[in-house]
Symmetry: C2
Subunit: 361 residues, 2 copies
Amino acid sequence: MLVAVVGVGLVGSEFVNQLLSIPAESSPFRLISLSSSSRTVLFEPANAILSPEKWKTILSTSNEKPDYETLTRKLSGFINPATEVAIVDNTSSDEIASLYPQWLKAGINVITPNKKAYSGDLGLYEQIVRASQESGARFLNESTVGAGLPVISTLKELVATGDKVKKIEGVFSGTMSYIFNEFSTGSPDGPSFSSVVSVAREKGYTEPHPADDLNGFDVARKLTILSRAIGSSSLPSLQSFASVKTTSLIPPALEGIPTGDEFLKRLPEFDEEFDKMRKDASKEGKVLRFVGVVDVVKGEVKAGLEKYSTSHPFATSLGGSDNIIMFHTERYSPRPLIIQGAGAGAAVTAMGVLGDLLKLV
Amino acid sequence: MLVAVVGVGLVGSEFVNQLLSIPAESSPFRLISLSSSSRTVLFEPANAILSPEKWKTILSTSNEKPDYETLTRKLSGFINPATEVAIVDNTSSDEIASLYPQWLKAGINVITPNKKAYSGDLGLYEQIVRASQESGARFLNESTVGAGLPVISTLKELVATGDKVKKIEGVFSGTMSYIFNEFSTGSPDGPSFSSVVSVAREKGYTEPHPADDLNGFDVARKLTILSRAIGSSSLPSLQSFASVKTTSLIPPALEGIPTGDEFLKRLPEFDEEFDKMRKDASKEGKVLRFVGVVDVVKGEVKAGLEKYSTSHPFATSLGGSDNIIMFHTERYSPRPLIIQGAGAGAAVTAMGVLGDLLKLV
């Protein structure tokens, strides 16, 4: 299988390294193209990139600008009954996501941790599904939820084998997991909310602007992706992540602040509010967790702060920036199927992407 | 894909029901053969069995005796570039397991929850791997560990994408899980061991002879299956499940008692011993759990009773007959990847089998 990689940031670089660490003689893949936002290279299959040491230099010394029309045309030209092609989109770009239908129509498989196409407008998603059905090319997006954890494949298997999903509930954001594992342990006291967010940012757990995590949209996007994998037409979240009932953690007075630095400087003004929520939860023997829920029975999908008993797995079992996902189904009842582990980070995200690629061969 | 089913007991029947509940017009499968220990039917692809209501009658009114040589020959005859064939072995038979190399050589895919071939002598397993490599036919055995939980597929993906497995640790037996979740909760007192085992047997959680669970061999077999999926040559368990350091829970004086009834009548003589272990664990703030460990770093593989702190997930998070499996790897470190849920039962086991079949198409 010929592979073209778009996006060579943290996840993209790690992905290329993992891909090229499969010994060439046993690898079913040939890496023939790399694109960053400013440069691109594309080789004939016989001249595929093999060296984990040299790919960065090969790309950085190219003078070609990315041109996705040319890429699509040339890649299609390589497809024949003995040769499949896959594009791996490691960007988080809306623009690249909008190209998936065109790639799939051309018979090119699409693998990505990019949530945009799968959580955005239903129109684009339907085009993707239709294009894949028409050409037989496949799209896989395991690492859009839970990074390398087997979340989407498990959900698809439950559905395909005839199980009925009743509810999916989980901590889906590594950032939110870290923040609340530190902030709310069941005790009425602890570090201030703003200090926890600051440390999370220093450790690289948040986006440069923490409001991009605290708005809850990352969780809402994941819930739309799961809703579409369930396929139940009663879920409002099918439409787009904007249809998820999302409760932002950004204090209204801090909405629209342009920089992360300024945001963090003002966040302490709201520490008392967050502290009161922690104290209230503690009084009930509970902790605060930012969770996502897809309730198929009630037709309700929401992302927001909830309280859980200190004996609940969301309180006892989580640490670091772990994700935890509980599938309540007809067969996994009364006790759910649970998947837990690191839900963010380049190594595990790239692993999920490579795992998808391996499913194609 | 043409499907032949061998074994129509609890799991086998549920599997056939799940398979036939996929609407025929969208199903990629055609069920053309069923075999029990005493009867068999085999149809031409055009006359495949479609009715979830009638398959039992079709089989029970057949006068044909199972004949696996004929079955193999006829199924091979159906294979062509457009038609694949799979045999689903839902028995726990050593004899059927010994046929896998022959089936794979003939180009027939093999799917099974039967642990025998994958946990028995290395010789048979190597024949299976070789036969699959030669013909390209595939073998999948997800439901040999954790029933429908995605345990083996997750492990294979970790390995295939270059992660290094350091240790796998878990509660792998639904029966042992139930017994110790009931028997040892952290408190020094509780129901007697023999009464818990009796109730478990009444609920159908144990084999007819509870010693077949208490010997720990079921867990040892699963550890050998996982060891082979890891493929590290340092693991003694690769050789066979008999090479796993297994600590049986059968009191030596009760070894070899022929019937389950007699065994249960005498088990109360040993309640005091088990009670003492529970009290000792409780004094240390711990619970007893029957676990399996594959320690790749130490090259040690063992099944036996261990003590875990009452705050450990094996104590806090388990219930019913749940399995829980922790993967400690280079990437999932310091916190493991965890999979948890019902690890026994016909519905979830059959689901794992059907999930494997879906991976083939």
